[in-house]
């Protein structure tokens, strides 16, 4: 069946419908990872967005359930050039077609994804509609596109009650703003007991649980929409509990400490972004997925200093908070999909907890 991707600038791509045939309006973003589409699909940070994969051959190895970064896929839509008709991998549990259908995610294949990516690169991220209605009316569609909002996505993706990964000598409280599974797993395999809390848990509850460290997770949406969460993070900042934050968590910590965030033209989404550790000069390749960033100009040098920058565009990729056991990164040390080069940051976090205990 034919499907259409209609962008707010009036561009229309015609392709084939994949997954669910329902109509959807979403923010269209592109991801440049060449592998890891199951992880991308199940990353809650993509809630409220439709993802274009720039790599043209998607679905080659199907979907393996144990690779899922959360319990279900989150994007509003999935846009690819070509879906493999026959997955091939010893771990493959389900084909990508069946996976999308099972979770009722609409999508489109057979379009020139490179042309689409170039539009998004030139004009910035846009709102778009995926529809199978051949008789769509452009003006009506454009009106509909205006109704798009990403508000409330964290409520949608965060868990409803706390869960515990038992065992280990360090107790970590992980705030779930839309966390990827591998954050908890990375801590757990390093000997942490990880308690995962819903996004709207009060700071008091966390503090009272007396954790050795707090982890702020990634998540979807505009960080500035998270006003109540930011208030709780301020309270956490004022304790002396070691804190490590990733992605949205990093942005929220920055906002909680007086800095500002900006929406980027088209963001960083991929598994190939070089980030430089300013202390050592060493460059790591990182997984990234963000459309907002911390505005470097607004960082109070007495509160935090830039720890990592993006080599390509010089943007802030991590902060070290002064006189605090707090550091935050914009990228994803938990990888999945993507390189494991910055996994050592979890070790750094654990060392921070140990030092605190021994102090």
């Amino acid at each position: 069946m034919k499907a259409f991707l209609i962008l707010e600038d009036g561009t229309v791509f015609t392709g084939t419908s994949i997954g669910s045939q329902k109509e959807v309006i979403s923010e269209i973003v592109f991801n440049t990872s060449m592998t890891g589409y199951p992880e991308v699909l199940t990353d809650p940070s993509y809630a409220g967005q439709a993802v274009v994969m720039t790599y043209p051959l998607i679905g080659n190895y199907g979907v393996c359930f144990e690779d899922m970064e959360s319990d279900r896929p989150w994007p509003d839509g999935f846009i690819v050039r070509e879906l493999s008709r026959r997955p091939s991998n010893f771990r493959s549990d389900i084909s990508i077609q069946d996976f999308l259908e099972k979770y009722e995610i609409p999508g489109i294949s057979g379009i020139d994804t490179r042309a689409l990516t170039k539009i998004l690169r030139e004009k910035g991220t846009m709102i778009g509609m995926i529809t199978t209605n051949e008789k769509f009316d452009m003006e009506e569609v454009k009106e509909k596109l205006k109704t798009y909002s990403s508000k409330g996505v964290i409520e949608k993706v965060s868990r409803k009650s706390k869960t515990v990964l038992e065992g280990g000598k360090h107790k970590v409280a992980l705030y779930d703003f839309g966390t990827k599974k591998n954050i908890a797993n990375s801590l757990h395999k390093r000997g942490c007991e990880v308690t995962v809390y819903p996004a709207f848990t009060s700071a008091e509850e966390i503090i009272c649980s007396n954790p050795d460290g707090i982890m702020l997770s990634n998540g979807p949406g505009d960080p500035k929409d998270c006003t109540s969460i930011i208030e709780e993070i301020k309270k956490l900042y004022n304790t002396d509990i070691p804190i490590f934050a990733i992605c949205l968590g990093h942005q929220l910590m920055a906002l909680a400490t007086g800095a500002d965030t900006l929406k980027m033209k088209y963001g960083h989404r991929g598994a190939n972004h070089p980030v430089k550790d300013l202390a050592t000069g060493k460059v790591y390749i990182s997984t990234q997925n963000h459309g907002y960033m911390v505005d470097e100009k607004t960082i109070d040098q007495d509160i935090a200093q830039v720890k990592f920058i993006n080599v390509n565009d010089g943007t802030v990729e991590g902060l070290q908070f002064k006189d605090k056991n707090i550091f935050t990164v914009q990228f994803h040390p938990e990888a999945c999909a993507g390189p494991q080069d910055t996994e050592l940051l979890f070790d750094e976090f654990i060392k921070m907890m140990e030092d605190k205990k021994n102090a």
């Binding site: 190895y61 010893f90 490179r114």
Partner: protein, 1066 residues
């Protein structure tokens, strides 16, 4: 970290002659690195024995030594030039080994030089089998278990420990001879005992067999700060067991999940960190197809064929970045030249699929074993880019120029099901065609996968292509079906064949329905950033990104495709220089080529690069977009010449010599008329189409005769026939392969062969030099030792040659280059071949004469005259040097190939010997080709009857040099009768010890074996020649070559070789 200020003068070591396994990729890497060093103000001293390379040009390096790559020669050059640093990571294994020896002996330290880009410790850790194993164990990276054994009992014990099957690899045998896979103890005993005997050191490696696992490669790059990235990963369609150089390779990997991909990526990073490499590195893995188990197969701590492929596949210039890292820069300081916005620390992201297919030489060596093993056999490769795998595969297939345009190109229709199963189990270069046939017969993927171990994903892609064949064959050709066929890159001609329409009809239907090829950019970043470098590939069903620029005049330069025997790196040299020359003249240059190993496909050589097959349809797609003002075909070998007619039909003017004149040189009758008009004699001969005609002509001329198809390069299919039977067999063979052109039958003349390259401006000619061949006519010019200036040719004959060249060039209206081969018999000169285009000898003669021939030709093509450019027409005066071009062969890599030389070209590369005296030049040339005598002073001589008389003086000369001479019965008898002390040895079918036992005693330095006629593989000579090659003994098959070798050995020049900076030759 900025550039290290202590580095001012760097010596770059090249990889030497092109052989199988070490080819043009090192010219590409070396050239890129030298340019990158010079950009930084570094003085570059280049050493490489290969004169056909671009890296040995005076505009690439400051000092250029085309000298044998030996420790002694390098030491001498280092003492002369006093470089502060040596960069050895760009010249393949050859350069690494030399660098390690120079460093470990303390020579570098004593002479104030050091290695950059690597250390000898790093090289050792990666190259020494035991150290490598220990290093991998230290960082917990698994390798396939292995052990070196010296007797069968130890082998059995070890095999029992690791389990069967095991792989056996004898040490120091070439071409994988004596090795194999043993499934049982009995097989192990058989193979192992034979392997131990063949090995010069009596050692065989017993290794766990991981054949059938997925083969995955990573290209990694690291700087001095320890930052590292992977440039690209690649997956071999052919599982472990086939050398990656012989495998169909796809980039990026297709069947790996992110978990597998990252597991191996992390491993590759661990390895490069542990080896502390500062530069590029290649890591090869075997990955179990149904688990996360993997083994590190090999690590190359340098740039490689794979890194060249990765560079072209991604647009990331690995060699350039490696050179900058060697100077002290870090990845985040090196700008990405393609985007101009990102840095070398950004990992490339691809938004297309790349397929590489090897170019195997079985069309040349029809008797060689086609089986693909861990010993590489390919001479070159093609790469193609498309937005889908099927399309990339189809484009790569037709880029091979092996009469293949689809998966139907080899017929397996007549095989029974069981035969097909057998054929599937055969691991050779036609396996994907067999799989296609299996799919056509509805064999299920599991069965095919069981037999071939090829991942079902690839089998499914082959099935998609087969389904399209069937659809085109059975369904009406609708615009939708046509669009889909084009999306997966079915050429119009194949669609026409399958639908019963004409190619013109298909094309018109495409145009009517706007189904046209568009071009996309290779930009390293999947469109995330704007690209500044126009590096294009085509696809269908997408939006076009290639924007023709306005203003400048545009020239289309057709490249020479994959490296093959007969069409090597020389033509890339010519294409690149032609591009630069046109650039200098203010043209916008557009290169079309499909060879990832070459300099011409580097993204900054031409203004625009189209990485495409060189077929009329593919070229027309480019012409439609670019509308060039003209095309140059005379520099891209036969590949480009073949496109002449199609280009004219597209309305593209051919710059330089016109197509009809090219035809006149190739068409026998037209050419005869021209010769007659010029009053130039040629050996008598006629054009025929059938074997009856051929026999009649041959009888008329008198045997022996030379038979060959017209329109060939490298003497392909050329043979000397001595009888009616040989002619008939020959014609039948040729007719097996589609023969559109007639066959030539000429009187075979024994005489001296002489060759010239010349530039003609329509009026005057400029001959840089006349080259004389050491071997008499009958051996292909590409396989002969070529001497400049001539040694035995009289001034009168030289004058005739110059005169004939002038007459021919003018009669053929040559504008640009012409190559002519002559036979000199007494004082008479005959023309045997004329090629109105660039030739194999152009780079060599340019370098040794200091005349930039390609540039001159390019200017002449654009209207300059030889006089106007300041040159005196005629033969350029020779300088004070003798320059000898020595062919180099790769026989040890091709089991079953007959090494005896003849009219069909067999060499893969060449090296140069240049010196003030003929003898020294000859010695250098032999040394450069790896002939380094004496070791044991023992030689075996066995010659055919015709050569027996001439063998006497050869024997006498070896005797005088103190050699012990062994000879087979009749040869020994003749030698003895003439006072040469020869020891008689038994033939193969006689009692032991035979000549074979003698060879296997590993005491022989040299075998001289001139072949008897006919290609009977069971003859003794064939077996002797093969055994000597496989045990690493030099084997000569022409007495002319043997005499030349003697001349070099007799001279005292070898005691004191003088390196010559050819950049200083005026």
């Amino acid at each position: 970290m900025p550039k290290n200020p202590d580095i001012k003068k760097v010596m770059v070591i090249g990889s030497g002659p092109i052989v199988i396994g070490q080819a043009a990729e090192f010219d590409y890497a070396g050239t890129q690195a030298c340019r990158s060093l010079k950009e930084e103000g570094i003085e570059v001293v280049l050493v490489n024995s290969n004169p056909a390379t671009i890296m040995t040009d005076r505009d690439i390096a400051d000092k250029v030594y085309i000298e044998p790559l030996t420790v002694k020669v390098l030491e001498k050059i280092i003492q002369m030039e006093k470089p502060d640093s040596i960069l050895p990571t760009l010249g393949g294994q050859a350069a690494l080994n030399l660098a390690m020896e120079l460093d470990e002996s303390g020579f570098l330290g004593r002479n104030g030089a050091r290695l950059i880009g690597t250390t000898s410790q790093t090289i050792k850790k990666a190259e020494d089998r035991l150290e490598f194993k220990n290093t991998m164990e230290k960082i917990n990276e698994p390798c396939a278990s292995s052990m070196v054994v010296e007797n069968v009992e130890d082998g059995i014990d070890f095999a029992n420990e690791i389990g069967y099957p095991v792989v056996l690899r004898p040490a120091y045998t070439l071409g994988g001879s004596g090795g194999g896979i043993a499934d049982t103890q009995q097989e192990l005993m058989d193979i192992l005992s034979n392997g131990l005997r063949l090995s010069r050191v009596g050692q065989v490696l017993v290794e766990r067999c991981i054949a059938g696992w997925k083969e995955i490669e990573y290209e990694v790059i690291r700087d001095s700060k320890g930052s590292c990235i992977t440039v690209c990963n690649m997956e071999n369609l052919d599982p472990v067991g086939v050398h990656t150089g012989d495998s169909i390779v796809v980039a990026p990997s297709q069947t790996l999940s992110d978990k597998e991909y990252q597991m191996l990526r992390t491993s590759a990073l661990n390895i490069i960190n542990e080896l502390a490499i500062e530069g590029g590195c290649n890591v090869q893995y075997a990955l179990h197809p149904t688990s996360f188990e993997y083994c590190v197969i090999e690590v190359n701590p340098r740039v490689s064929r794979s890194s060249a492929l990765a560079s072209k596949a991604t647009g990331y210039p690995i060699a350039k970045v490696a050179a900058k890292i060697a100077l002290g820069y870090t990845l985040d300081e090196i700008e990405n030249a393609i985007t101009g916005k990102t840095f070398a620390s950004f990992e490339p992201a691809l938004d297309y699929c790349v397929v590489k297919i090897p170019r195997l030489p079985f069309d040349k060596f029809i008797h060689a074993k086609r089986t693909l093993t861990t010993q590489m056999k390919a001479t070159g490769e093609v790469m193609s880019i498309c937005t889908n795998f099927e399309g990339a595969l189809m484009k790569a297939l037709r880029s091979l120029e092996q009469n293949v345009d689809s998966l139907m190109s080899y017929g397996y229709k007549d095989l029974s099901y069981d035969e097909l199963l057998e054929e599937l189990a055969l691991v050779d270069d036609r396996r994907i065609f067999v799989i296609a046939e299996a799919v056509r017969r509805k064999m299920d993927y599991e069965t095919i996968n069981d037999i071939t171990k090829i991942d079902p994903w690839f089998i499914d892609k082959i099935a998609i292509l087969v389904e399209m064949e069937q659809a085109l064959n059975s369904k009406p050709l609708t615009p939708e079906l046509l669009a889909e066929a084009k999306r997966i890159e079915f050429p119009d001609t194949v669609i026409a064949k399958l639908t019963g329409k004409t190619a013109e009809f298909v094309k018109k239907m495409r145009m009517d329905n706007n189904i046209v090829a568009v071009f996309k950019i290779v930009d390293t970043c999947a469109a995330e950033f704007e690209a500044e470098t126009p590096y294009y590939y085509s696809c269908f069903g997408s939006q076009n990104e290639a924007m023709p620029s306005a203003g400048k005049k545009k020239v289309l330069i057709l490249g020479s495709g994959p490296i093959r025997i007969g069409q090597g790196i020389e033509f890339d040299y010519c294409s690149v220089h032609c591009t630069w020359a046109f650039k200098n003249e203010g043209y916008e240059t557009i290169i079309v080529n499909n060879n990832p190993e070459t300099v011409s496909t580097d993204f900054d050589i031409a203004d625009k690069l189209y990485f495409e097959p060189l077929t009329p349809e593919d070229v027309e797609n480019i012409v439609n977009i670019e509308k060039p003002d003209g095309a140059v075909v005379q520099f891209g070998g036969q590949t480009a010449i073949k496109l002449t007619k199609s280009l004219m039909e597209m309305g593209v003017p051919i710059l330089g010599t016109k197509a009809e004149d090219v035809d006149a040189a190739e068409d026998r009758e037209l050419f005869d008329a021209i010769l007659e008009q010029c009053e130039i004699p040629r050996p008598e001969g006629k054009t025929v189409y059938t074997s009856q005609e051929a026999v009649a002509v041959a009888r008329g001329l008198g045997y022996p005769v030379l038979v060959r198809p017209s329109y060939v390069l490298g003497g392909q299919g050329m043979q000397i026939a001595f009888s009616d039977e040989e002619i008939i067999e020959y014609i039948d063979n040729v007719n097996l392969i589609t023969q559109e052109h007639p066959i030539l039958v000429d009187k075979y003349m024994m005489g001296k062969e002489v060759e010239v390259d010349a530039v003609c401006d329509g009026e005057d000619i400029l001959i840089p030099g006349v080259m004389e061949h050491i071997e008499r006519a009958g051996i292909h010019s590409g396989d002969s030792i070529s001497v400049y200036p001539t040694v035995t040719i009289s001034d009168a004959v030289t004058e005739i040659i110059v005169d004939y060249t002038r007459r021919l060039a003018k009669a053929l209206h040559v504008k640009g280059l012409i190559n002519i081969q002559f036979i000199v018999s007494g004082e008479k000169v005959y023309v045997i071949e004329v090629n109105p285009r660039s030739s194999r000898t152009v780079p060599y003669i340019s370098k040794v004469t200091g005349l930039p021939i390609v540039q001159i030709a390019a200017k002449v093509i654009l209207g300059d005259t030889i006089k106007g450019l300041g040159y005196t027409p005629g033969l350029h005066p020779s300088n004070d040097y003798y320059a000898i071009k020595m062919p180099v062969f790769s026989f040890e890599k091709l089991r079953g190939a007959d090494i005896s030389l003849g009219p069909e070209m067999k060499s893969t590369g060449e090296c140069l010997g240049i010196a003030k005296t003929f003898e020294e030049a000859l010695y250098k040339a032999f040394l450069g080709a790896g002939v380094d005598l004496p070791k044991n002073k023992k030689v075996i001589i066995t010659v055919n009857d015709a050569d027996k008389k001439d063998a006497v003086s050869v024997g006498r000369r070896f005797e005088a040099l103190g050699y012990e001479i062994y000879a087979t019965r009749r040869t020994a008898q003749v030698l003895k009768e003439n006072g040469v002390n020869a020891i008689k040895v038994n033939k193969l079918n006689q009692e032991s010890p035979t000549v074979l036992d003698l060879l296997l005693s590993h005491q022989i330095d040299l075998v001289i074996d001139t072949p008897t006629q006919g290609r009977d593989k069971t003859r003794d000579g064939f077996i002797i020649r093969r055994t000597s090659i496989e045990t690493g003994v030099t084997c000569l098959t022409s007495l002319d070559t043997a005499n030349a070798l003697l001349t070099s050995l007799e001279s005292d020049a070898k005691e004191n070789l003088t390196p010559i900076d050819i950049a200083s030759i005026i």
